[in-house]
Amino acid sequence: MLTILFDGVAYGMILFVLACGLSVTMGLMNFINLAHGAFAMFGGYVTVLAMQRLGLPFLWALPAAFLVAAAAGLVLERLVYRPMYAKSHLDQVMFSIGLVFMAVAGADYLMGSSQQFVQLPAWLSGRFDLAGIGVGRYRLFIILLCGALAFAMQWGFTRTRFGSRLRAAVDDARVARGLGIPVNRLFALTFAFGSGLAGLGGALGIELMGLDPTFSLKFMIYFLIVVTVGGTSTISGPFFAAMLLGVADVAGKYLVPQLGAFIIYALMVVLLITRPHGLFARGRA
């Protein structure tokens, strides 16, 4: 039972790292980027290639995944995303679905449709027993790494100058512009950082979630659940939403496998009806 909880937390941690970039971009530019998962997939493939072709060790492949995905985010934001901010939500959705389709087919073309695997270093594989709970080393590694990241982000978001500007811009971009905050540059940086995190999440997730060309479609709904349920104005909202989702999903699949993802979707619909502004969002009039 506790093992399920543990696995669920690890899974939720990855979901958080994958989705939190999306939450900030959504809050900042009011932009629905369904293609966020494509950056995660990109990071995953970068890791696979770096390890298989370049022979990079896993730990070195992770920052590579982050950097390459962030660079891709920076370029794409500049070239194709920026004209989309002023368009309707519907256009944004169609646009980013288009990007997802391209990413899925592109990955299939370049990498083939099969599942990809990575070789974890020996010290990260296997389980050990801790007070009767089976603890996977890799999952423990994920929890520690992503937990540290979450703390760092929470700190950066609430304590640094960059964070306070970001919060001001999320609250009201027009007012922030009026105050002389360079919202566009802020957004480009955040977008790149969020894409990088997605790439890192994709790399970390290969072992747990698998990696194939349909990754960005399959997990799109998960990211969106995290964001819609967690709200877009904090770091902690998406964090707890991701934990909840991770644990619920792992527990559901373990305890009642025949229902599949049913529980998750039902949970999301119920949450959205009862709390249309997100579970942890601040009350708005």
Binding site: M94, I97, M102
Partner: protein, 335 residues
């Protein structure tokens, strides 16, 4: 200017909106002519008619009432399974099956309509997507009923009106789908031109003013959502009946996404957009499939991106020019 003449002008303006345009008559004549001119393409024409009906359904809620949905396939799939199961277990009569598919999907629309009444576009997108995903999971796990991943097989259809047997070339299939499409289209056309239809446009344009004008937003949205769901169910039922097969694919996400693309290509809010979009989409799919069958998803994606980034104005400008030319031809002929 006297009061009387203003009244006459008001009436003329209101009439102009629902008048049959020559280009419209031409459109339907072409659809019938296609039966004779393209005897080898009847199966794909049938698919176009079904997709067109499905897109009309989305246009009713998106183009008229302004409700975005990423899960419209829920109703399409539900109608398809309902009609398929009805044919398998109850009666092979197509029209009865069509009614069952529409009724079932309409009921599902009615039951899920409270979900779309509140919240932002984003919440609506998510909730509609969620409903479609839930149905997909259900259809997958209720294998004893739906056939699960193997699909619902062994559907045998009777003849339409007891007269026309379905054939392997799709002759009856196309005419049947086209007839259903036409009847439902004319009905939809009538509805959007009614006081009810006007109130939907009011809600789409400005919900605040709509309610300040006495429009009960919730009830109208429930009504149109139910109606659109029934239309989508009809499209699903047609697919089940004319292909005699239902797979999990009817509920898939890409079906909802493709549908959006169809409507966006054709333009929302005038009903024909769905039909024009369906033709364009199937042609596009066909062309792409002929040179890269495997990666058509990439080209569809690229098309979407370019379209939203600026291609739409080009295409719609083209359509308007053509329609305008046909209209001028029509006006020259005596009325």
């Amino acid at each position: 200017m006297s009061e009387g003449s203003i009244e006459a002008r008001v009436q003329r303006s209101l009439y102009a909106a629902r008048r049959w345009h020559p280009a419209e008559i031409m459109f339907w004549l072409l659809a019938v002519a296609a039966f004779f001119l393209l005897p080898r393409q009847l199966l794909i024409l049938n698919e176009i008619a079904i997709l067109g009906l499905f897109a009309v359904s989305l246009d009713l809620i998106l183009g008229y009432a302004g409700i975005v949905s990423l899960g419209h396939a829920a109703f399409f799939g539900f109608g398809a399974y309902a009609a398929g199961l009805f044919a398998k277990h109850a009666s092979a009569d197509p029209l009865a099956g069509l009614a069952v598919g529409m009724g079932a999907a309409g009921l599902l629309g009615l039951l899920t309509s409270p979900l779309i009444l509140r919240g932002s576009d984003l919440t609506r997108l998510m909730v509609t997507l969620g409903v479609a995903l839930i149905l997909g999971e259900l259809a997958n796990s209720l294998g004893w009923l739906t056939g699960g991943a193997d699909g619902l097989q062994g559907i045998m259809m009777g003849s339409v009106l007891g007269l026309f047997e379905f054939d392997i070339f799709g002759k009856v299939a196309y005419l049947y789908s086209l007839a259903v499409l036409f009847v439902l289209f004319v009905l939809a056309r009538r509805i959007v031109g009614s006081p009810f239809g006007l109130s939907l446009r009011a809600i789409r344009d400005n919900p605040l003013r709509a309610s300040a004008s006495g429009v009960p937003l919730h009830w109208r949205l429930v009504a149109v959502y139910t109606l659109a769901a029934a239309y989508a169910g009809a499209a699903g039922a047609l697919l089940a009946q004319t292909t005699q097969f239902v797979s999990l694919d009817v509920l898939a996400f890409h079906r909802s996404a493709d549908l959006m693309l169809v409507l966006i290509i054709g333009g929302a809010g005038y009903l024909y957009g769905g039909l024009i979009g369906a033709v364009a989409f199937k042609l596009l799919q066909d062309v792409i499939a002929s040179f890269t069958p495997q990666y058509w998803m990439f080209w569809i994606g690229l098309f979407l991106v370019l379209f939203v980034l600026g291609g739409r104005e080009l295409i719609h400008g083209g359509i308007k020019a053509v329609v305008g030319r046909v209209a001028r031809l029509g006006r020259r002929s005596p009325t």
